[in-house]
Symmetry: C2
Subunit: 195 residues, 2 copies
Amino acid sequence: MQNFQALYDYIEKLTGKMLSVDDKQVFTAHFKPNKIRKRQYFLQEGDVCKYTGFIVKGAAKTYTVDEKGNEHILKLSVEDWWLADFESFYKLTPSRFNIEALEDMEILQITHASVEEFIKPIPAFTSMQNVLSQNNTIAAQKRMQSSISQTGEERFQELVNDYPHFIQRFPQNLIASYLGLTPETLSRIRKSSSK
Amino acid sequence: MQNFQALYDYIEKLTGKMLSVDDKQVFTAHFKPNKIRKRQYFLQEGDVCKYTGFIVKGAAKTYTVDEKGNEHILKLSVEDWWLADFESFYKLTPSRFNIEALEDMEILQITHASVEEFIKPIPAFTSMQNVLSQNNTIAAQKRMQSSISQTGEERFQELVNDYPHFIQRFPQNLIASYLGLTPETLSRIRKSSSK
DNA sequence: AAATACGCTTGATTAAAATCAATCTACTTC
DNA sequence: GAAGTAGATTGATTTTAATCAAGCGTATTT
């Protein structure tokens, strides 16, 4: 299963630990491959996020819609990222977010209960979780710091530095929303900073 | 040691697991009590964050200073919170942040190496880390979502709801900075929203 | 007690970003 | 191929927040 190979490679690379044949057996038994077509939802506001998905192929946006009908993009996710509203996923509460495919996607999905029961006993997996927890903490801190202390232009430059492929891959209106800006403002920022 | 009792209570309450006498022995052997006076630094920009500290008493701010000399508060921390720049703490890189006591503090501090070697084997501690990891993920997501999609006024209201004691305990200029606003703007927001 | 520092408020002005509106282009889709 | 849609850009205007400046009250310090 080439789908699963992407997950194995990811875990082994991130943790430096090798998965045994038995480990892989557990993964194939409990992760379910799923395809999500462009513009389809992985999660809709009000629903409980029953699955977390490892993205083998494709991209998605996690966003809210405010009372005026404007979208606000909290997260853009691509290959080798985990897809979920973790608040809803951990607590089994209705989500405030929508998660929608921006491209046709292939994911490997699993429920919280299955992770706890079958996947957590695999040392490489808990090791992965620890690494991800640290990375998340650091990334969240950095993004928050940008958000409170930098201008739109500085935040955009940081995004270009940190995730250059995002700029190539996603339309500017999504990038703008991710940065907390309107598309018009980002367009003007790009124009003035290119001079 | 009544200092340590606060830590034990915290872990037991958060995880639902009891600490054995031996466990507590390990804690007292490796966590070092430390007092930090108001206006003193737990961490200064450019230094490596060698310790993480459990706050037994007092409060602190984590902030950066921009090129204009303005402070931007990333975090306000009180009793039962962990104090560190985790990026610097995990990676042993120089920190971009300052952490300064807002009140006289009592903390229990420990190095990353000691955590890994002595504290992580304690099941209740790793269990605590898992809970904290989840809570952090959720809180970071929520704060980020506020930041990109809500006005200053809405963010302030959310803070009042989520952390009412912060409003009592910290001066408004710090609250403003935490929200990414100037003190003047927060003052005007409060004035207009009280009507 | 006087002096100082700190925090909060208010006013006037400037700067940044949002909003509203129109146009243009490149893709889909039928 | 025509029609429709999505995304980007530009202009004019409004809204929001930052900045600059002053004044006031309350702690804190000496």
